[in-house]
């Protein structure tokens, strides 16, 4: 099957029922959002990153870093579930795993688009990451492993669409391993900074992995629901069961994540450095309290649990809405984590500094975030249009 032409492959994988004017309009709309949004980031290279982003010396990382982490974490989750169903086979989620692989690639693209305009000199990175690597640096490993993961997943996906099942399986395993290690290093980037007690500690990498399983399951439920919604079709029984399995995983991890969040915050109030406690205060009673209580806990944890119970894992639109709210909560959770780790002055008590620095993302930062959402939405629609058949047919292996 490998020697057939590209057009023949696309003829087999494409979903002609999606070639509608509405779909075209939606696809073009998200393409425009992508271009306009990411243009905000491109402006940084013209006017200076320090000029158009609201990061400061004291708070060098902002919403772009948290959004990068959000997409990267979601990508890891999707890739992990896909790999588990590919490797172990027989799981109900196998039915939707091809779509998960595609969306994992798309989510990491959203992450790369965000970090690409956040880093001041990415062109230097391309060269010196290779000729001057620092093996002790979590950032180096994270970047390298995510790069490796996306390479493996692209080959895996090519294997899926061309019917090279063995190649897809092997690359899927390598891709998932690289994704998990990259995710762990992403957690490690924050967890190994003793200067920032709110981040420092052994829990954070596991917390990031838990978030990956949560965001991944939520994204799997949401994107599969949307895939059938745009087709105006009812899910087949097997797909329904697959999404239900993802829903079960989402529920289980939602509970684990809530427990981890609870103990993570409690730990700051029983001792330890003052900087950590003051950072936690930002979420509990301080400038991030609205974000934390309303968006992270209310919309991101409690309402989804209620919706899941009400849906009994059968009502797909309710389950998908729960997945969407979880993703919103996770997006805000990453933001709060990044901001709270830096917004307490390291020299608190001197220079009449406020207890918490204020940080409001700039218009351009919001623009880049919109751009990254555009990347993922555009990628989703294009995937359904071009590879829709691959996503809905049974697995190749």
């Amino acid at each position: 099957m490998s020697n057939i032409s590209l057009s023949a492959i696309f003829a087999e994988t494409a979903e002609p029922c999606l070639a509608t004017p509405e779909m075209n309009r939606a696809t073009i709309f998200f393409l425009i959002v992508t271009v306009v949004g990411l243009s905000c980031g491109v402006l940084a290279f013209i006017f200076g990153h320090h000029t158009i982003y609201n990061n400061t010396r004291e708070m060098p990382w902002g919403m772009l870093i948290s959004t990068y982490a959000f997409w990267a974490i979601t990508s890891t989750g999707l890739c992990m579930y896909a790999a588990m169903s590919h490797v172990f086979g027989g799981t109900r989620m196998g039915m939707i795993s091809n779509r998960m692989v595609w969306m994992s690639i798309i989510c990491i693209m959203g992450a790369f688009a965000t970090i690409g305009v956040e880093i001041a000199s990415p062109h230097r990175m391309l060269l010196y990451n290779i000729i001057s690597p620092n093996p002790l640096s979590n950032i180096w490993w994270m970047g390298t492993l995510y790069g490796l993961a996306v390479g493996c997943m692209i080959i895996e996906f090519a294997g899926i669409v061309t019917g090279l099942g063995k190649l897809a399986l092997v690359m899927g395993v390598f891709g998932a391993l690289a994704e998990v290690l990259a995710n762990s290093c992403l957690g490690g980037v924050f967890a190994t900074l003793p200067a920032r007690p709110y981040w420092y500690g052994a829990q954070l990498p596991i917390y990031f992995l838990t978030s990956a399983f949560l965001s991944g399951a939520a994204a799997a439920v949401l994107f599969n629901y949307l895939a059938y919604r745009i087709r105006n079709e009812k899910m087949s029984t097997t797909v329904h069961l697959a999404v239900k399995s993802a829903g079960k995983a989402m529920t289980l991890v939602l509970i684990l994540y809530s427990v981890a969040t609870f103990w993570r915050l409690v730990s700051f109030y029983v001792g330890g450095p003052e900087l950590g406690r003051t950072a936690a205060d930002a979420l509990i009673t301080g400038p991030l309290a609205l974000n934390f209580w309303v968006l992270e806990v209310g919309i991101g944890l409690i309402i989804p649990i209620v919706l899941i119970i009400l849906s009994r894992l059968e009502n797909m639109s309710m389950l998908a809405f729960a997945g969407f709210l979880i993703l919103v909560g996770q997006f805000v959770a990453r933001y709060d984590l990044v901001v709270a780790g830096q917004n307490v002055p390291q020299n608190l008590g001197w220079d009449n500094l406020p207890t918490h620095f204020s940080y409001v993302p700039s218009f351009f930062e919001f623009g880049v975030i919109a751009g990254s959402i555009g990347v993922v939405a555009f990628g989703f629609l294009m995937g359904e249009r071009v590879f829709g058949k691959t996503f809905t047919q049974k697995e190749h292996h």
């Binding site: 000199s121 001057s132 640096s137």
Partner: protein
């Protein structure tokens, strides 16, 4: 007599034990308990003098702990600082530090406290601590920042800096800034490429200080003033944020 033979013996019970023997057993028990209990209480007692001394010893590297041929450091005689900021100005000029976007290599922090309607002002000079275990160096993905093998000074190789700002997040001392002219992260380097390269013995900030707050020098060289100050018996010396384990080479004292 082995244990098997002992097991065959008849149990005498405690009724036949002489009073004297019981007393001695109890005394031994009390003594043992006392030793452990006493030890525990002592270990919980705060002995401020001893702990200060201990902390000072931990903060200052002792002989044989200097990994670099010249091991530069600085000691701040904090109570002498009057906040004139001549050091800040001298640093800006010597090292071409831009004026915008929070760029500074050294700064003077100020704290005002009020006690019984009296206002007390304290000044604290800060700069890169040139740590022995620098968090910024470890996190840099491209080795754009590293310890100079000759002096132990943390320096930048600007062309390698990708601008990920992880070093800024990792620094416990807020010592790093984005240099818009170099489009890279920048920091204090004890004037290694300016004054030290010209053969001068002091950094710009130390030379400019009218109160001789900042004493710069080679920590290994017994003839230097910094060595003498660091090893003055009974002087209290501290470092900033020792909890981060960065092992800074900038020390503080009141003298």
């Amino acid at each position: 007599m082995n244990i098997e033979d002992l097991e065959k013996e008849k149990n005498e019970g405690i009724g036949s034990l002489p009073l004297q023997e019981r007393r001695e057993f109890l005394k031994m028990g009390l003594a043992l308990t006392g030793v452990f209990l006493g030890g525990s209480i002592l270990s919980m007692t705060s002995i401020s003098h001893a702990s200060n001394q201990k902390n000072a010893d931990m903060d200052i590297p002792s002989e044989g702990q200097y990994p670099y041929p010249k091991h530069y450091g600085m000691i701040m005689r904090q109570n002498r600082c009057v906040g004139c900021e001549l050091c800040v100005e001298a640093c800006k000029q010597s090292n071409h530090v831009p004026n915008d976007h929070g760029a500074w290599r050294t700064a003077i922090q100020e704290k005002i406290t009020r006690e019984n309607s009296t206002e007390k002002r304290e000044f604290r000079p800060v700069l890169c601590n040139q740590c022995n275990r620098p968090p910024c160096v470890r996190v840099c993905p491209t080795k754009a920042t590293y310890k100079d093998p000759e002096t132990g000074i943390v320096v930048m190789d600007y062309k390698k800096c990708i601008g990920c700002k992880t070093c800024m997040a990792a620094c416990p001392y807020n010592a790093r800034y984005f240099n818009e002219e170099k489009y890279a992260i920048d920091k204090c380097n004890f004037c290694i490429d300016t004054r030290l390269a010209e053969g001068k013995k002091e950094t710009a900030c130390a030379a400019a200080c009218p109160a001789r707050v900042r004493i710069f020098g080679d920590l290994k060289d017994k003839s230097t003033e910094i060595y003498r100050l660091l090893h003055t018996p009974d002087s209290k010396i501290w470092v900033l944020r020792p909890d981060t384990g960065a092992l800074p080479n900038v020390f503080y004292m009141n003298a």
